[in-house]
């Protein structure tokens, strides 16, 4: 769970994504927008984690690290933060109202 005061993200409610995962390429189709996105492994796993439960960047980084076998460090956290911005721009996720 996100710690109090953290910015928590969730997938946009109406999203019922369709997925294909091929060799660390994640393809996600968003029926709400009709858009298809090609994501790398970290971004793809981050979005799948948020589909399961909202999280802030730190919590999400931990979850992604478990799934990808990548060590939790500042670099991964920075990547996750970038991806969160990108996924929000793509209309896939949004902030949980505080």
């Amino acid at each position: 769970m996100a710690a109090p005061g953290q910015t928590t993200w969730k997938v946009i409610d109406a999203c019922e994504f369709r997925w294909r995962i091929w060799d660390n390429q994640f393809v996600v189709y968003n029926p709400a927008s009709g858009d298809t996105h090609l994501l790398n492994q970290v971004a793809g796993e981050a979005l799948r984690c948020l589909q399961e439960a909202p999280a802030d960047a730190a919590e999400l980084t931990r979850r992604v690290a478990v799934r990808t076998d990548i060590q939790v460090d500042a670099q991964l956290l920075a990547k996750i933060n970038d991806f969160l911005d990108e996924l929000a721009e793509l209309g896939l996720i949004e902030l949980v109202p505080s």
């Binding site: 369709r18 390429q25 029926p31 298809t36 090609l38």
Partner: protein, 309 residues
């Protein structure tokens, strides 16, 4: 009865009046035109196509004629009518035949949404189909024509039709549209190729039509599963080179080349994804047609489990 059985004068008279009903792949086209060069081109390119009589039913009722008004006489134009409506911007009358082919493509691409339609050439050999995908100038029609002269069956030069329920490709053989340098390339490559006319100064440069092979027309009801998706890149003087594409990359590229991927929504995504999963996807650069054909001869046979049925 095939269109060629009518004889030219009879065909010309029918085109001027009630029209002819021709089966092109899964579609019935009702063609009418008083223009002599259109009649000649239809007689040439559609001679092997079956005529059908379904009590006036057709998927597309097409008429090519000069529009009314001044432009009938001053710098005369030709208009493409679909179901009685002027449907495309008029062309100079000398481009009536290219307009017929572009218009028929437009009819299919704008209406046949029971299929996923991909801007690609499609061919079949030994029961497996290949899609040739590429931007204009990537060598799609040129390689398609060359493969047709080397044992591949023409499904389509321009629009690949994929049935969403079983992923089978549905043939839509029609004339292959060659452009600019590729016209002479194919004339040299296949001296027997029937390319009687060419039209200069079209929006795509010089255009010529290669009649579809008789065998491809006669077997237009025989579908096939896709086995290979090949993204072409013709580069003058380039070595022949192919590399396997990751599926995600291939899906994104193929989706960009589909006419109705977005319109089909989730069904479009699922169809596209299953098509990619059942095919081997390549990026293919070439300049030499003979070397390209040799490489296509060695495409690995598809995994039977993934080949569809």
């Amino acid at each position: 009865m095939n269109l060629g059985d009518l004889g030219f004068e009879n065909l010309r008279q029918q085109l001027r009046h009630r029209g002819v009903f021709v089966r092109t792949g899964p579609f019935v086209c009702h063609l009418r035109s008083p223009l002599c060069d259109v009649a000649e081109a239809i007689d040439f390119a559609y001679a092997d196509f079956p005529l059908v009589d379904r009590g006036g039913f057709a998927d597309f009722h097409v008429r090519l004629a000069r529009p009314p008004g001044l432009r009938r006489w001053v710098r005369p134009q030709v208009q493409f009518y679909l179901d009685g409506r002027a449907s495309l911007k008029p062309f100079p009358v000398r481009l009536a035949v290219p307009m017929l082919e572009w218009g028929l493509n437009w009819c299919v691409a704008s209406q046949a949404h029971q299929y996923m339609m991909i801007h690609a050439a499609a061919l079949e050999r030994d029961g497996h189909a290949v899609l040739l995908v590429g931007r204009p100038g990537a060598g799609k029609s040129t390689l398609c024509a060359a493969l047709v002269f080397n044992g591949w069956r023409l499904f389509s030069d321009e629009i690949a039709l994929v049935r969403p329920d079983d992923l089978r490709l549905v043939p839509l053989p029609r004339p292959i549209s060659l452009k600019n340098e590729s016209i002479e390339v194919i004339r040299r490559f296949a001296p027997g190729a029937r390319i009687p006319w060419q039209w200069e100064d079209t929006t795509k440069g010089t255009v010529a039509h290669l009649a579809p092979p008789t065998d491809s027309v006669l077997r237009a009801d025989q579908t096939a599963p896709a086995a290979w998706v090949v993204f072409l890149d013709y580069q003058p003087d380039a070595d022949t080179r192919s590399r396997r594409l990751p599926r995600g990359t291939a899906l994104m590229r193929l989706a960009r080349n589909a006419f109705n991927y977005c319109l089909l929504g989730s069904q479009g995504f699922e169809t596209m994804a299953r098509l990619i999963e059942s095919s081997a996807c390549y990026e293919f650069r070439y300049s030499d047609l003979n070397k390209a054909i040799a490489r296509f001869d060695t495409l690995p046979q598809p995994d039977r489990d993934h080949a569809g049925s």
